[in-house]
């Protein structure tokens, strides 16, 4: 069955430091993959998405993600975080067979001064 695992429930980084949020997926076919961000008291917003082509995809606000079929991963990265990046980040897989979206449990990012 399809699934998404975000192994880190919480991540704390210093402002200006680099960031990687991990995502592992399980899916038999070709996955559609997304990263969404949820700021406090708001709905989710799309950061980036991937289906095919260049395994490194660029998103908004300096975020990028790298797809690896061999590792079944889709990790999110940012070169230099800002305090405003503090939020919850969700990795999402689109199940093309059932037309549903499967969410990871989310990673809560805290950026400290």
């Amino acid at each position: 069955a399809q699934s998404v695992t975000q192994p880190d429930a919480r991540v704390t980084v210093s402002e200006g430091a680099s960031l990687q949020l991990r995502c592992k997926y399980s899916y038999s076919g070709t996955p559609y993959l997304f990263w969404y961000v949820q700021y406090p008291r708001q709905g989710l917003q799309l950061l980036l998405k991937y289906y095919s082509g260049d395994p490194v995809v660029q998103g908004v606000n300096g975020f990028e993600a790298e797809f690896s079929k061999s590792n079944s991963s889709f990790h999110l990265r940012k070169a230099s975080v800002h305090w405003s990046d503090s939020a919850v980040y969700f990795c999402v897989l689109s199940d093309t067979g059932n037309y549903k979206y499967v969410f990871g449990a989310g990673t809560r990012l805290k950026v400290i001064a």
């Binding site: 708001q42 709905g43 989710l44 093309t96 979206y101």
Partner: protein, 113 residues
Amino acid sequence: EAAVTQSPRNKVTVTGGNVTLSCRQTNSHNYMYWYRQDTGHGLRLIHYSYGAGNLQIGDVPDGYKATRTTQEDFFLLLELASPSQTSLYFCASSERQNYAEQFFGPGTRLTVL
């Protein structure tokens, strides 16, 4: 830009109570979704629809009914609310399945006493 609104934003009811959560999207999207968000689980799909009058069962449908009255409006009904349904509920819409971005509403926080 797609707009998804939800009402009410906050709701408190008692066990056994009757609750209706409303969602409206104004971007003429075909697909609409109801999710619940609980700590440690990410977002879990309750019901979804791909058009007026259509309803599809999600992953956690027990205790919930839904109805899509128009392309714009999607309702979630809890006819005998239980404390286990205390959660943050999100509505989302998308133009199509698979690779399409989902647009989320701001959420409804429901407390069942």
